[in-house]
Symmetry: C2
Subunit: 591 residues, 2 copies
Amino acid sequence: MMRTHYCGQLNESLADQEITLCGWVHRRRDHGGVIFLDIRDREGLAQVVFDPDREDTFALADRVRSEYVVKVRGKVRPRPAGAVNPNMASGAIEVLGYELEVLNQAETPPFPLDEYSDVGEETRLRYRFIDLRRPEMAAKLKLRSRITSSIRRYLDENGFLDVETPILTRATPEGARDYLVPSRTHPGSFFALPQSPQLFKQLLMVAGFDRYYQIAKCFRDEDLRADRQPEFTQIDIETSFLDETDIIGLTEGMIRGLFKEVLDLELGDFPHMTFEEAMRRFGSDKPDLRNPLELVDVADQLSEVEFKVFSGPAKDPKGRVAALRVPGAASMPRSQIDDYTKFVGNYGAKGLAYIKVNERAKGVEGLQSPIVKFIPEQNLEVILDRVGAVDGDIVFFGADKAKVVSDALGALRIRLGHDLKLLTCEWAPLWVVDFPMFEENDDGSLSALHHPFTAPKCSPEELKANPATALSRAYDMVLNGTELGGGSIRIHRKDMQQAVFDILGISPDEQQEKFGFLLDALKYGAPPHGGLAFGLDRLVMLMTGASSIREVIAFPKTQSAADVMTQAPGAVDNKALRELHIRLREQPKAE
Amino acid sequence: MMRTHYCGQLNESLADQEITLCGWVHRRRDHGGVIFLDIRDREGLAQVVFDPDREDTFALADRVRSEYVVKVRGKVRPRPAGAVNPNMASGAIEVLGYELEVLNQAETPPFPLDEYSDVGEETRLRYRFIDLRRPEMAAKLKLRSRITSSIRRYLDENGFLDVETPILTRATPEGARDYLVPSRTHPGSFFALPQSPQLFKQLLMVAGFDRYYQIAKCFRDEDLRADRQPEFTQIDIETSFLDETDIIGLTEGMIRGLFKEVLDLELGDFPHMTFEEAMRRFGSDKPDLRNPLELVDVADQLSEVEFKVFSGPAKDPKGRVAALRVPGAASMPRSQIDDYTKFVGNYGAKGLAYIKVNERAKGVEGLQSPIVKFIPEQNLEVILDRVGAVDGDIVFFGADKAKVVSDALGALRIRLGHDLKLLTCEWAPLWVVDFPMFEENDDGSLSALHHPFTAPKCSPEELKANPATALSRAYDMVLNGTELGGGSIRIHRKDMQQAVFDILGISPDEQQEKFGFLLDALKYGAPPHGGLAFGLDRLVMLMTGASSIREVIAFPKTQSAADVMTQAPGAVDNKALRELHIRLREQPKAE
């Protein structure tokens, strides 16, 4: 092997030992007649000193430049007392360079690596092979590797089998748009890239595999607003003969063990919260419990007021009126409130009513608000008591369709938590349970809240009678306001699966055409089964403190779903298209 | 948890203990007034006895049928002496059934699971979720999971980082046809699914990752003659600052450790053989060394004979004349020789000359052959001596272009080894090294024998001077005549990479257009690097003794690249095609 040690491994215990390093010239300095090269490799930096005694080597060291690839032989020695660098793993020693070999030269890189520089993301992605040399980027991908390794070990130890499912598969009904692959051997037909291995993992349970996992690539051809990627990675898990409690226990143990092993962090037991409570108190099915603010329902106090903005939603069964108290924020300037009003507008809210509680003892006089004049004093008192308002607080109000109020005040709650630095802890995991089976579309039809293979908590007959209020056996793991993973007990009986398809308006013919193989599988002895899928990219992002999932993916796509480094997607010649039995709809512009 | 034990875990140490099993009814027998159910789960079978004392349970046990999913509570007890079944892990005990619950019913499966039956592959694939219940199928996929787990552990322990590379990527020059994915956001452009992560892993080395691995899905849109799949899995490895010897040592250690751990088998040190020797002695660059037969070159003895079939190739610098001695096979009937003649015809051979050595002491008289009359006796003697012919042997001859002779006699050698049961051992691994850089096409142009990123053993100048004879720094691991893995030291200097592209006839413009990012990477400080990729499917196939890679893939495609279970590929609606800016070339037939 060319090297004897990684740079970051050198320390005082190696003093007087001859070692060989291989790596990149991170920094070159010329100081007091000697040359200092900081050599960088995967594990860190080491300082190598070349003095003029060794003429040829010194001359070569004088010629190397940043990012040259070199091999150095030398002797480890303690640094002089004043020169110790506590910020560097090998900072107590340096290497006296005996031999230097240039393994490859380097042109001046498009952005410097030896000091922080704010480089545009497009440039970083175009030269990803240089960007990934930055120690902070390399550290994230190293941690990602440790995370998957820890997860695999846990699942192996718990009897899970790693089984690969196909990437060239059939269009699935996960809701998002599929990536399609034209078939050469079946003219006019297409494969779809999987949005998840959902049905395959269920079939593995029908096949008796009992415990399955896979760290699986999934694909969605969606517009990449938000922090999404066309291809992403899922920790995909399925089990047989376990109920919700068992699966939650197993996977919670996995995440708790992972945080302990990789970050030395004890997450403790995760609380459970129903979907209903999460929406009521936090306006979200993935509440960030680090944030102490809570929504409080006050419709009962406002249904009779003359102010229609409040009384309308308060009387509407699908409406909601809620308050959000922010302690000690009454001094918030008008401009800030205007800003928040605009913010909640993004979620469909038509305004943002508020009350500043200056001095409750003074009654209405002590309140500063455009709305108190519309509310009878006794109702006002009940509301302020209910939210626990004290002097110095501000209370925001939302009144609209329930979804708009929950979305808007839920988002405002998160925003306020960050703006006012209200977070009470670093990590707040929980399970959200008791989701509804369906959500209502604008046209009154129903969609599956999770996916159509989720088991309900009731019988097929009860489900058909009251689909809109039926609860599912689904569960989501939430961490710091991010959905880390979601899963459910699945339907394992054919009659129940058909009932759900019926409710979703899928005709028997379509059921057979699209899901015939699943219905077949359910009739030949499907065991009770259920599972869960974690978003690996998002998990790594949280654990590394990255600001985007692009930071934890080695070669991510841009927002327009392109790879600016390899220039993908690219043009294809006509012969290839002919073989695939397709042609372009519009000819691309002449090049 | 529903079950306390897996069926296969039950044994005498649990006697008198109450246990609960969950699984499938593998077999149901009614014998002497009691009912026996063999319950099957992932870990094996257990026999449960229901007697009429417990009336309701007995009645239910009487109603269950094959493949019903059940939960059984009962007590473990030793079987009566005569009833012990040594072929069953739990065969020393049985379970006295107390309670029985039917978790799901099953229709009669399309093929029986309780006894061996020869079912057509199409049916097996259509009902893969039943086919995979067969213990021998489940065992193969369980072993596959153990194999990947063992490999990951080895690579983790040796400092390799698991890094995911993209699936939606740019068309690569690996030679085979790419699967293409139309881009919605870039009209007229296409992603390609990767044939291997080759360039991405090289870029990870340029990025300083030092040791990378990935168990990676790869894709080739080729016709599936032979035993191939459109998507297959590669154990993909790349390292920096290591030479051939280091990489061979590391990966040989991995495979040796794997065989020891999973099959308890010592493979020993792998011999090394040059490409030239492998072709000369075995007519193949992946020789099966379990087979003792060898090719022997005899052109020197035949260049002057009048028989043009021999003298032509013997005098042609691109020709080859070789002999293959088969010990003790002189009694082979004419019909068998005709069959082999037809067989070598598949490899382009125009005939199959032979000499049966009945009694060497008698000279030509003792030989039975249509060709001896064309060969002077002294040459005949040299040839027979050289191949070591003794009485009772048959010697086959090939004379043609070198490639035809090597292919034909190489294949005949393998065929004879199996037909005549000549194999001398069970496992014969080796490394083949010193491959040529290029192979000549019929038009005289050169193609890369491995891929164009393989480093030669010489300088760019020497390479340009004599490309046809240059050797590469490539190495293949071969096991039992199968190429398990192949790799090389890669080119890490831009001038060398350009020299190879030039030799391959890739114009500078095309180099920039297709490989600009690689050439960029090589100029910004690329380290010396190299690696290897193993075919996981083939490795698992060898280790499980499977007869096809479809046996070791959970959901494989058929020979026409279709999934008969999910009916993929399938039709797609026009809206989806419009969004992808493509249309069908021919309309599919009306349905």
